[in-house]
C-alpha cells in the first residue's frame, strides 16, 4: 500500500506540473486566438482544430489551454490565503490558549456554520467577479477547517514541555511560534494546502459554470456551461462538452492524489504490535 501511494504521488505531481506548464506557456501552445472565430461553427475534431470548434466557431483546444490559467491561479491563490489565515488563527489560538483560544474557537465555529457557497455567490456577484475577488472571498470564507485542525495539533504540543522549556530560556512568543510551533506543524499545513487547492479549483470552475467567473479570462466552468446550455450533449456534440470537464476532473484528481500521499507520509499508520 505504501509503494502504491508513492506511484500516486509521482503521477499526481507530473500531471500537476504538466498543467502548470500549460498554463504558463498557454499563449505559445494555443494554436489560435481563443476569442477569434477561426472555423465553421461546431466543427468536429480535425487536423486544423484538434478538438473541433464551438457554436461560434472558436477553437476549443485553444480555449481549453488558455482556460487552465484561471483555474490554477484561483486554486493556488485561494488555497494560499485559506491556509495562511487558517494557520495563523490555528497557531495563535492553540498556542496562547485561555480566553484568546476560546474566542477564536467560537469564531471558527460560527464562520464554519455560515452557508459558504451561497454567500460566495452573492458576494462574488456583488463585488464584481474577478480572479482577485474570487481568491479573496474563498480565503476569508474557507479558512475554518484548516484553523480547526491546526489548532488541535498545536494544542497537542503547546502543553508539551519543550514549549515551556523554550519560554523559560527567555524566548519571545513570536520566536517560539515561528521557530518551534510552525516547523512542527508544517507537514500538516502542506497537506491542508494541497486539499484546499483542490477545493478552490473545483469552486472556481463551479462559479464559472454559474456565470461568475472572471469576465476577462476564459474559464472551464463557463465552457461547460455554454456547451450544456446550448444543448451540447443532447445533440451528441461530445467534443464541445467533454474537454473542459475531463480537464478539471483530471487536475482535481492529480491534486487529490498528491494530497493523499502527503497525508499518508505524515501519518504512517501506527505499527502497533498489540492489536
Amino acid at each position: 500500500m505504501y509503494k502504491y501511494r508513492k506511484i500516486g504521488l509521482v503521477i499526481g505531481i507530473s500531471v500537476l506540473a504538466a498543467f502548470v506548464l500549460i498554463a504558463i506557456f498557454s499563449p505559445v501552445l494555443a494554436p489560435y486566438d481563443p476569442y477569434k472565430i477561426t472555423g465553421a461553427p461546431l466543427e468536429k475534431p480535425n487536423r486544423n482544430h484538434l478538438l473541433g470548434t464551438n457554436n461560434m466557431g472558436q477553437d476549443i483546444f485553444s480555449r481549453l489551454v488558455c482556460g487552465t490559467r484561471a483555474t490554477l491561479i484561483v486554486g493556488f491563490g485561494g488555497a494560499l490565503l485559506m491556509v495562511l489565515i487558517g494557520t495563523c488563527v490555528g497557531i495563535i489560538s492553540g498556542y496562547y490558549g485561555g480566553k484568546i483560544d476560546e474566542l477564536l474557537t467560537r469564531a471558527v465555529d460560527v464562520v464554519m456554520a455560515l452557508p459558504m457557497f451561497p454567500l460566495l455567490i452573492m458576494l462574488a456577484m456583488f463585488l464584481k467577479p474577478s480572479i482577485l475577488t474570487l481568491i479573496f472571498l474563498m480565503g476569508i470564507l474557507g479558512w475554518t477547517g484548516c484553523a480547526r485542525i491546526i489548532r488541535s495539533q498545536v494544542l497537542l504540543f503547546s502543553e508539551s514541555n519543550f514549549i515551556s522549556g523554550v519560554k523559560a530560556i527567555g524566548a519571545s512568543d513570536i520566536y517560539i511560534m515561528v521557530k518551534h510551533v510552525f516547523p512542527n506543524i508544517l507537514p500538516l499545513v502542506l497537506v491542508k494546502f494541497v486539499f484546499a487547492t483542490q477545493d478552490c479549483m473545483l469552486m472556481e470552475v463551479g462559479l464559472g459554470f454559474l456565470g461568475l467567473g472572471d469576465p476577462f479570462m476564459i474559464d472551464w466552468g463557463q465552457m461547460i456551461n455554454r456547451a450544456y446550455i446550448k444543448g451540447g450533449f443532447a445533440l451528441g456534440l461530445w467534443w464541445w462538452l467533454l474537454p473542459p470537464g475531463v480537464s478539471i476532473a483530471f487536475l482535481s484528481l492529480a491534486v487529490a492524489s498528491v494530497g493523499h500521499s502527503f497525508e499518508n507520509e505524515i501519518n504512517p499508520r501506527l505499527r502497533r504490535m498489540i492489536l
Binding site: P268, R271, R272, M273, I274, L275
Partner: protein, 311 residues
C-alpha cells in the same frame, strides 16, 4: 498440574526499524495458586510476553514455542476458541486505567458484559454480580457507582474497576500488566493490598517494573532483561540473595539502597548482542561473556540464573 507452562516462547515482530525480538526462548511455569512477578525495565519485552499469552497481538507477529494452559497449547487454538478462554479462563488487567475503560459505557455494564457472556446469566443477574464485584474491590456506594461513567471515577477507582473486570469471572489465571503504574503512593498501597487479597486463591502473572511492588504480592519473581529471563527464584531468595548482576544492579540503584546506578542502557531489542546481553553494563564482565550466550542454570533449589559467573 501447573496452570500455565510457557515452553521456549519466541515472539518477534517486524517494524519500520527492523525485526524486534521482544521475547526470546522464555520458559516459565505458573502453578495453581501461585503468583509470579515478572519484573523488568521499559522495553524488555514483558508486555509483549503477556499479550502473547492472551494472544492479542497483530496477526503478523511471529510466535514460536508452546504456551500450555492446563496442558492445552493455546497457540494452536482458533480465534473463536481463544475468545472462550479470554476473560473466562485467563483474564487480563491492563495498565493505564484512564484509557482502558470505554468512555461511553457505564462502568457496571463493562463489568457485567464479561459475566453475562461467560457465565450464561441473565443481563439483570450479571449486573447484580457486577455490583458485587465493585463492592469486592471496595468501591463505596457500588450500586450507584455501577451506573456511572468512567469520567466520573478518580484514577484509583478506575484501577479498581479494571481489577473488577479482570476478576469478574473467577478465572484460573490472571495477568496483571503494571496495575500500579502512575498511581499515587497511598493509592498504590491500597491497590497492592487489594490485589493481594483478591488473588489469594488464584494464579497470577504480575508484570511490573517495580521490584518492591512485586515482592509485596508475589511468591516467585522472574527477572526479565532484553527479551529473556535472567533470574527466577522465590521472592525471599531474590531479595536476600540476588545472583544475577542485573538484579543486584537494580537493587543498588534504588534510592533507599544506595542510588548506585547500572552504567549504560539496555540494548535495543532490534540489535541484540550475541554474547551475554548484560555484558556491556556488567561490572563482573569477562572476555568470555562477550561471545558466549549464557544458559539458565539452577543454582540452589528453585533458584535459576542466566550468568556465566555461575557456570
Amino acid at each position: 498440574m501447573s496452570v500455565l507452562e510457557i515452553i521456549d516462547l519466541k515472539t518477534w515482530f517486524q517494524t519500520q526499524d527492523g525485526l524486534v525480538k521482544a521475547v526470546n526462548s522464555v520458559n516459565l511455569r505458573i502453578e495453581k495458586n501461585e503468583r509470579v512477578g515478572l519484573v523488568g525495565e521499559t522495553g524488555c519485552g514483558k508486555t509483549v510476553l503477556s499479550f502473547s499469552i492472551i494472544r492479542l497481538l497483530q496477526p503478523t507477529t511471529m510466535i514460536e514455542g508452546k504456551i500450555l494452559y492446563k496442558s492445552k497449547d493455546i497457540l494452536k487454538l482458533s480465534e473463536r476458541e481463544m475468545q472462550k478462554i479470554r476473560g473466562k479462563e485467563i483474564a487480563m488487567i491492563l495498565q493505564n486505567p484512564t484509557t482502558a475503560l470505554n468512555p461511553v459505557l457505564k462502568v457496571g455494564d463493562q463489568i457485567a458484559e464479561a459475566i453475562w457472556l461467560h457465565q450464561g446469566l441473565k443481563k439483570k443477574e450479571a449486573k447484580e454480580k457486577a455490583v458485587e464485584m465493585l463492592e469486592a474491590v471496595k468501591i463505596p456506594l457500588a450500586e450507584k457507582r455501577a451506573n456511572e461513567y468512567p469520567h466520573q471515577f478518580s484514577g484509583g477507582m478506575k484501577e479498581r474497576a479494571l481489577i473488577a473486570i479482570g476478576l469478574a469471572c473467577c478465572t484460573s489465571l490472571i495477568i496483571a500488566d503494571e496495575p500500579t503504574r502512575g498511581l499515587d503512593v497511598t493509592t498504590k498501597a491500597q491497590i497492592i493490598k487489594l490485589m493481594k487479597d483478591m488473588t489469594k486463591q488464584r494464579s497470577m502473572l504480575f508484570i511490573t517494573h517495580d521490584l518492591e511492588v512485586a515482592a509485596e504480592i508475589c511468591d516467585n519473581i522472574a527477572m526479565m532483561y532484553a527479551g529473556e529471563l535472567v533470574e527466577y527464584a522465590k521472592t525471599d531468595d531474590v531479595f536476600k540473595n540476588p545472583l544475577h548482576p542485573y538484579t543486584q544492579g537494580i537493587f543498588n540503584s534504588l534510592p533507599n539502597r544506595g542510588l548506585k546506578p547500572i552504567k549504560g542502557m539496555s540494548p535495543s531489542l532490534i540489535d541484540l548482542p550475541s554474547g551475554c546481553r548484560f555484558y556491556q553494563r556488567c561490572d563482573y564482565a569477562r572476555e568470555i561473556c562477550k561471545n558466549r550466550h549464557p544458559e539458565m542454570v539452577e543454582m540452589e533449589n528453585g533458584h535459576f540464573v542466566r550468568c556465566l559467573l555461575y557456570d
